[in-house]
Symmetry: C2
Subunit: 415 residues, 2 copies
């Protein structure tokens, strides 16, 4: 066994203890984590300051530096997020489909933890705590592998969380951080079959695709977001313009931001009269097909083929002209990533048809795609937004971090 396999075995054993620890004990562990992070935040902030200094030295760009940096306020926000998870209902142990069969067997399906969840993420130190806490609450041990830029912060906070676990009598190995940030350990983690029940990559599209391609353990793909808004010829155009503006500009770096607008040709001119002044506020770059270019003139550039599949995560918007809803639906099904898709229409039948025919985790009528989020959907905190169909789809809350088992109470039945 390699050292990582040995550690995997320890995490698996810790997960088995945690699986039957009960909600009260798990909440005690989360409280202990919240307390130790508050009380000993100076250690965490100091480790983070060293990470930030090294990153500056290495020439990290300002937006990345900002993500890496912890402040007392950010620590307070993270602690408050931990307390919110304590308040969420525990999915583990819930039983459904319970019934007495004709032969007298009593059979029910009980929610159980997945076991060991591995998470590969980039240089955001808050993810370390968020992810660990959601795993713990749902009864799972976790193996964390963060970016090398945040390694000092992560080592410190992982150690604090392990101390908190021990303080309530739970195994420290319920949380394990891989402190070697080499490419080799990440690859080994992706092949830790038998110890890792699911691997969730959190980060940019490049990371996610690389993990999905390489891993032999089960992976949940999250956060790939090429989202569309279709503006129908029967849309409320003022509403459509406001929604497009919100979906593009409120936070362009996130996965539920819109990347491409499909505009019905019959109302395109009128629509752009309303939408352009809004998009101009953020100088949104428009990459348009030829029909749209005729309307938008020098305000846009001609789109390249690659623009129809691009996740810009920036103030850039692809613009395409369509002849009707069915064309929009086909285009979305061919070019979307199955994340969040919206129709703007006042027509009842088209609204219903769009919801039926578009194949995505979240489909919207007359609302911004930006709402695809565990909190907004009422699931509480989320560990990511699944864009695959297997196991979980859309925002993944605590329930999505569980599996099930059938429990069967007999009195001597044979078949």
């Amino acid at each position: 066994m390699t050292p990582l396999q040995q550690q995997g075995a320890l995490c698996k054993a810790a997960g088995r203890t945690l699986a039957t620890a009960g909600t009260t004990r798990k909440n005690e562990a989360l409280s202990a984590i919240a307390e130790i992070l508050s009380e000993r935040q100076d250690e965490w902030l100091a480790a983070n300051a060293a990470d930030v200094a090294a990153a500056k030295e290495a020439g990290m760009i300002p937006s990345m530096l900002d993500r890496l940096t912890l402040t007392p306020q950010r620590v307070a926000d993270i602690v408050s997020a931990v307390r919110q998870v304590i308040a969420l209902p525990d999915p583990v142990g819930r039983v459904d489909r319970m019934e007495t069969r004709p032969n007298g067997l009593i059979i029910g399906r009980r929610r159980v933890p997945l076991g060991v969840i591995a998470i590969i993420f980039e240089a955001r130190p808050n993810v370390t705590v968020d992810a660990a806490v959601l795993c713990l609450k749902s009864g799972n041990a976790c193996i964390l592998r963060g970016g090398k830029e945040a390694i000092r912060s992560n080592r410190c906070v992982a150690e604090l969380m392990r101390k908190a676990l021990a303080s309530v009598g739970l195994p420290e190995d319920c949380v394990y951080l891989i402190s070697d940030t080499s490419h080799e350990t990440a690859t080994e983690l992706m092949h830790l079959d038998g110890y890792v029940d699911v691997l969730i990559p959190r980060g940019g599209a490049g990371l996610i695709r690389a993990v999905a391609k390489e891993a032999s353990v089960p992976v949940i793909r999250t956060g790939e977001g090429v989202c569309h808004i279709y503006v129908d010829d029967e849309a409320d155009l003022d509403m459509a313009a406001e929604i497009l503006y919100n979906a593009k500009c409120s936070r362009p770096s996130v996965c539920n931001a819109v990347e491409c607008v499909l505009v019905h040709q019959a109302i395109a001119e009128e629509f752009w009269r309303r939408a352009l002044p809004l998009l101009d506020r953020h100088h949104v770059e428009l990459r348009a097909d030829e029909a749209a270019l005729r309307l938008l003139g020098s305000r846009a550039v001609l789109a390249a083929t690659s623009d129809w599949d691009a996740e810009y995560d920036d103030y850039i918007l692809a613009v395409r002209t369509v002849n009707g809803m069915e064309e929009a639906v086909s285009f979305i099904n061919d070019h979307g990533t199955g994340h969040s898709e919206a129709i703007m229409t006042t027509n009842y039948f088209r609204a219903q048809r769009f919801l039926d025919a578009v194949d995505a985790a979240a489909v919207y009528v007359n609302a911004s795609t930006r709402f695809t989020d565990g909190g907004e959907f009422g699931l509480g905190a989320e560990i990511g937004i699944s864009t695959q169909k297997m196991h979980a789809r859309g925002p993944m809350g605590l329930e999505e971090l569980t599996s099930c088992k059938y429990v069967v109470y007999g009195e001597g039945q044979v078949r």
Copy 2:
């Protein structure tokens, strides 16, 4: 694009049509399949006779030949199974978690088909129909790849099912059989990313492990069954002996048959006095640890290390002596395949602890492991028994062949 990718694209498009076809239309298709299989069974039986003749020529063993052979009675059973699926409730379109959020958005989670399901199976012609029908009812297109020994039967029945689909106005490509049974096409199917949403291997442990290792599309592992029965020192020993006999001998070739019995040392002698006469009826070979061997004498042989992980699928039973329930639980968690595990006890607390602590798809108290089955569990027909934790665990009925999407009804909300 390769020919199989082109076919994958056709199946994906067919699946999108089927996804919104509605229950009535899908049931019409299943009725048409039941009818055409009855009316034109002579064609199917003739094709099967040719398969059987070729297999005999090639020296196929009798038990395999029996599985391959269709008779009018077996066709009638298959048709009757199709009619049972028509009667099952359609999971597609069911909505849960629907609520109005504080901002007025109405959000619900709707069941939708997975899309395209690929199934690789061995030489049982009934599987071709069973699998296709479950996929169709749950709104999924399917790509079938059966064993070469049944290729004539499969080509015939796939063509009949495609005609039935066309007769009710659904795309023929909702069912596609890969008629080239070379190893290369199977491998290509395992890598048909973008067209296959899930691949389910149905067959022996060797097939399943090979597919899980090779495939880049998502796989659901089914039917690996190293199942245990633990006989506690507080068991009802007559009941325990009857259950062990049933779990081993009622149908040893299936995945829910028991392979290993763990016997508490304190009652081992008494237990074997009851169990041996039953097992002797089928001359069950016992492979025992040293402690058990002292009791069983010449009735058993010494187990090798490999016996503790063996799926015999035969009248063979591994026998191990334990000092108590916790030892049994650890042994099961280390050596089981997570299929079906049972405790025989009259002790309430141990029963509850076993159900909690054993990590398997189905955990039993005082009943035979042979009940792990979609029909017995009340799910109706099943496509297999999942031994993994992701997506589905235990018997997989229609609901397990679906995913979900969030539908969001807005009136102009922005975030």
